[in-house]
């Protein structure tokens, strides 16, 4: 009987897909515009306190990349540590001042290399024709760099 129950449970639950959500845990007016983790894009903007739609993931460990929007300015950030999820579990990526790096207003900056990955590779469309300064989190028009 015990085996039967185990098999029944397995049949109904063993193939639960691995999923994930993003939580905007900021308490100010910071909006999470987009998040990329491992192989999955979370495309929808999240207001503070809001949780994204659940997406399918693959079980792995990776750094999350995100774009924050604060007062109309874009801020490129990464997670401080890799987020990891096991098979059939739900990953909860919590973006808050304490879990990210690169928010200049909090005194955290990215290296130019990491900023390049985020702004030119992961979220390129937001930075077409623009330059991003990881030291100040300022976005400037590329033309400002001169002819």
């Amino acid at each position: 009987m015990k085996n039967f129950v185990l098999i029944a449970l397995c049949l109904s639950g063993c193939d639960t897909p691995t999923t994930g959500v993003v939580l905007n845990a900021f308490t100010d007016d910071t909006e999470v515009s987009k998040v990329w983790w491992a192989t999955t894009l979370f495309p929808d903007p999240l207001s503070p306190g809001e949780t994204s739609a659940e997406q399918r993931l693959v079980p792995t460990s990776d750094t999350a990349y995100a774009l924050l929007s604060r007062k109309g300015s874009l801020i490129a950030v990464t997670s401080n540590n890799p987020w990891q999820v096991a098979r059939s579990e739900t990953l909860r990526i919590e973006l808050a001042p304490g879990t990210i790096a690169g928010d200049c207003s909090a005194g955290s900056t990215l290296t130019p290399e990491v900023a390049e990955v985020i702004t030119r590779r992961v979220f390129p469309s937001e930075f077409i024709g623009k330059n991003y300064d990881p030291a100040t989190c300022a976005v400037t028009e590329a033309a400002d760099a001169g002819p």
Partner: protein, 818 residues
């Protein structure tokens, strides 16, 4: 007289289900005055020519339902012998007339148990018919026009691990199939130097109803056999090459026709459970078969439901149901009519084709996924009516009609983040269609002196009403559409074939067919995309001559040899949307094949066949459903040799081996040695099969292997799709009341790749398109960098693959209900 019979009688009240095991002449109940039936008129069963030629013996167990008038109104095979014996015995037994049984003086229906024993006489004249598709049992001889043509019965493929219809198709020598991006998607087929993608150059049908989809949203000839319940397939007919007048569209490399059962020996309930230890999630399956024994009508109902997950990190969750309903009856004594309905619905998640560098760099495991939203859903419902009339014992008329509806939504991501770095390159392909058609053929055998003429004429009709779309999507949400077409296309084919046998050792086969396609495409998009197909109507005609000669130089008791020479034209159609695209394509691509082959049987236990063949294709044109464009490539040439052998080691143990070597190339060297991407160069398959009585039942088993050699993944051969050899095991035990089977796939747990493609793609964290390539960046150890003219990054050209299943076990238990 080629055979003897042993007759037993069993008495029941009226139906098979109530059979009582009582010996001939015994009373059914004590105190009841029972007189058993008495055979008044018997008809000699015709010895199946294949079996006679090979001097194969067999015995067929039958149960005959004899009515109050003494007529055989129904029968069923209780012990199958294969090799055409079942049909021959059944045809003869239906013509028996009994003095009816009586109970207390009143005629009563009874069930007669009957064993028909076929023993080939030593001095039997050799029939010049080697193994051939046996589509009829009344006509004694079926023309054979190529060494590479044969049929396989369920008795043979029952010794193989059968988890799906694809496993049954593996009985075709030289045909290698691999799983492709999720269980609900069609397989990848490789045959005679063709990477037939999903079926472009291999015509696959069931009961003559075509499975290949013309102008399909995912790819021309898309062949999804997932709607078929494997257990209902009784027989597989295989041809290779364009030499058969009855074969039309897609039958360039070959054709496979599956024939379904009229009924089952038992009604049954089966449950299956399996999985890959350490990988993925379990797979399970339930199957119900009801085969009621009705008077004058043979009926079968089968229903399958299941959920499959595979070994993938992203569980497939392939939920599916399948239905099979078939009734067969005899409107007259010399005709039969079958009505068959099949239904399928399924949805799944696929792991796609993952880039080798993604696994190598640790981004995902080999069972991982870059886009876990891949997958889709599909449904097919078809109805067919088959009619067969035998006006005389030398002629046959066959006609069939079919109609089907089809639904298909597929989410894929091949280039990952190359074309749309922001949302990713996920696409959705949509196909909705209604297709219908029919076939009619007439065959007659005439003899003038020693000359024998076997004449066939026939006609095919198929019409498809299609609506298809191509969307860019993210997380299965539609963003924009780039294709939206209504397509209607109709095929009409006429063919004739004359087999002339002036002597016993010589035959000629003259045939040909004329095919016409007419079509219309309606582009429903108003976009100015120059690559989008335009609206228009068109048509094309092709004549395809066929010619064969068959010589039998050796015809001894322990050695027979047949030598064949074949020449024929065939074709595959192209996606008609490509006719109105730029560059445009011809709707029909001509194939010209030549073949010389031999088939021999030695010592009544060793079969060996070899074929040397060549096939020229007018152009290697493909419709790329993945980006909605047409690819026009130059003419190609393929040639190769095939070897097949079967050896009966003992009465209960047999071995077989099939090996093919193929050279595929563009007819004109394109500065790359004529290399042709993905064309298989070597394939092999074989194994040991055993069946032996054990206790009250029969133990069966098979150790099988199949494989494919390394092949170029790109035309220039710089990228290589590694080959593999996979071993599978099947062990089963069948008892009167139950059947248990254990299948093991990939016994040695090899890390093989199934479907493989050279694809230019971009992972999200790889350099942005058009940006300088960073120092030290590479596309993995086997991939290569794609750069634009100014040296900027344009993607990675890498082998994207679907992993083969690791060690996978599947246990199936079946209980017979009657």
């Amino acid at each position: 007289m080629n055979f003897t019979r042993v007759l037993f009688c069993v008495v029941s009240t009226s139906a098979f289900a109530h059979t009582a095991d009582v010996g001939f002449g015994a009373s059914a109940d004590a105190g009841v005055d029972f007189d058993p039936p008495e055979l008044k008129t018997s008809v000699e069963a015709e010895y199946p020519p294949d079996a006679l030629r090979q001097r194969i013996a067999g015995s067929v167990g039958l149960e005959l339902l004899v009515n109050e008038q003494g007529k055989v109104v129904d029968l069923r095979v209780t012990e199958s012998a294969g090799h055409g014996f079942d049909e021959a015995a059944s045809v003869a037994a239906r013509q028996y007339v009994f003095e009816p049984a009586t109970m207390n003086g009143v005629p009563t229906p009874v069930v007669v148990k009957y064993t028909s024993v076929f023993t080939p006489p030593v001095d039997a004249p050799l029939v010049l018919v080697p193994t051939a598709p046996m589509t009829t049992t009344v006509l004694a001889q079926r023309p054979i026009s190529a060494a590479s043509s044969f049929s396989v019965r369920d008795r043979d493929f029952a010794l193989r691990p059968i988890g799906s219809v694809q496993d049954i198709l593996r009985v075709t020598p030289g045909l290698v199939m691999v799983q492709h991006s999720g269980g609900g998607k069609a397989n990848q087929y490789f045959l005679r130097g063709f990477d037939a993608d999903h079926g472009t150059d291999l015509a696959i049908s069931i009961d003559g109803v075509p499975i290949n989809m013309v102008s399909h949203a995912h790819g021309q000839g898309y062949t999804d056999t997932n709607f078929i319940i494997p257990e209902v397939v009784e027989k597989v007919e295989v041809t290779k090459g364009p030499y058969f007048a009855s074969q039309g569209d897609f039958a360039t490399a070959g054709s496979v026709n599956m024939l379904t059962r009229d009924d089952f020996e038992h009604s049954s309930v089966g449950l299956g459970f399996g999985g890959s230890p350490g990988h993925g999630a379990p797979t399970y399956r339930a199957l119900l078969i009801a085969s009621p024994k009705l008077e004058n009508v043979t009926a079968t109902f089968a229903a399958e439901a299941g959920r499959a997950n595979g070994p993938f990190d992203n569980p497939e969750q392939w939920n599916r149901y399948k239905l099979f309903n078939k009734i067969t009856f005899h409107p007259t004594v010399n005709s039969d009519l079958s009505i068959t309905e099949m239904s399928y619905g399924g949805d799944w998640h696929g792991s796609g084709q993952i880039p080798a560098r993604g696994v190598e760099q640790g981004l995902i495991s080999r069972f991982g996924s870059i886009d876990p939203d891949e997958g889709g859903d599909s449904a097919r419902h078809q109805l067919s009516v088959q009619y067969r009339l035998r006006p005389t014992d030398k002629s046959e008329l066959k006609a069939m009609l079919y109609g089907a509806t089809y639904r298909f939504n597929l989410f894929s991501n091949f280039t990952l983040n190359l074309r749309d770095p922001d949302n990713g390159d996920e696409i959705e392909q949509v196909d909705r269609r209604l297709f219908y058609g029919g076939k009619v053929s007439y065959r007659v055998i005439q003899e003038l002196g020693t000359w024998r003429f076997d004449s066939s004429i026939g006609a095919d009709l198929r019409s498809d009403d299609i609506h298809e779309e191509l969307w860019s999507t993210v997380h299965r949400t539609q963003l924009s559409t780039s294709r939206n077409n209504d397509v209607h296309q109709t095929f009409i084919g006429l063919y004739a074939n004359e087999e002339i046998s002036p002597t016993r050792w010589l035959r000629f086969n003259l045939g040909g067919r004329a095919d016409s396609i007419s079509f219309g495409v309606d582009n429903r998009l108003s976009s100015a995309d120059p690559t989008a197909p335009k609206s228009g109507v068109g048509g094309a005609v092709q004549l395809s001559p066929k010619l064969s000669a068959i010589v039998t130089p050796v015809s001894l008791e322990n050695a027979q040899l047949d030598v064949y020479l074949n020449y024929g034209h065939g074709f595959h159609s192209n996606d008609v949307r490509g006719v109105f695209s730029s560059p445009s394509v011809n709707p029909l691509t001509r194939a010209i094949g030549e073949e010389v082959g031999a088939r021999t049987r030695l010592f009544n236990r060793w079969d060996f066949a070899a074929a040397l063949w060549q096939l020229d294709l007018a152009n290697e044109t493909t419709w790329s459903g993945d980006d909605g464009t047409t690819g026009v490539n130059a003419a190609t040439n393929r040639y190769g040799v095939e070897f097949e052998t079967r050896f009966e080691i003992t009465k209960w143990l047999a071995a077989d081996l099939d090996v093919t070597f193929t050279k595929s190339q563009f007819s004109q060297d394109r500065a790359n040695g004529g290399g042709l991407a993905l064309a298989p160069k070597q394939t092999w398959s074989g194994g040991l099969s055993a069946r032996h009585e054990l206790g009250p039942g029969v133990l069966r088993g098979g150790l099988r292997f199949y494989g494919i050699g390394d092949r170029p993944a790109s035309d220039d051969g710089a990228l290589v799709a590694p080959g593999f050899t996979q071993f599978d095991v099947h062990v089963g035990y069948r008892h009167r009341r139950f059947d248990v089977a254990l299948d093991i796939e990939n016994l040695l747990n090899g890390n093989y790749r199934s479907a493989q493609f050279a694809t230019t793609s971009r992972l999200r964290t790889e350099p942005a398109l058009g940006s300088p390539v960073p120092a030290g960046f590479n596309c993995g150890s086997k991939g290569r960098l794609v750069a634009s003219a100014n040296g900027s990054f344009a993607g990675c050209d890498d082998v994207n693959f679907t992993p083969a299943y690791p060690f996978t076990a599947r246990l199936t238990a079946t209980v017979f209900l009657d």
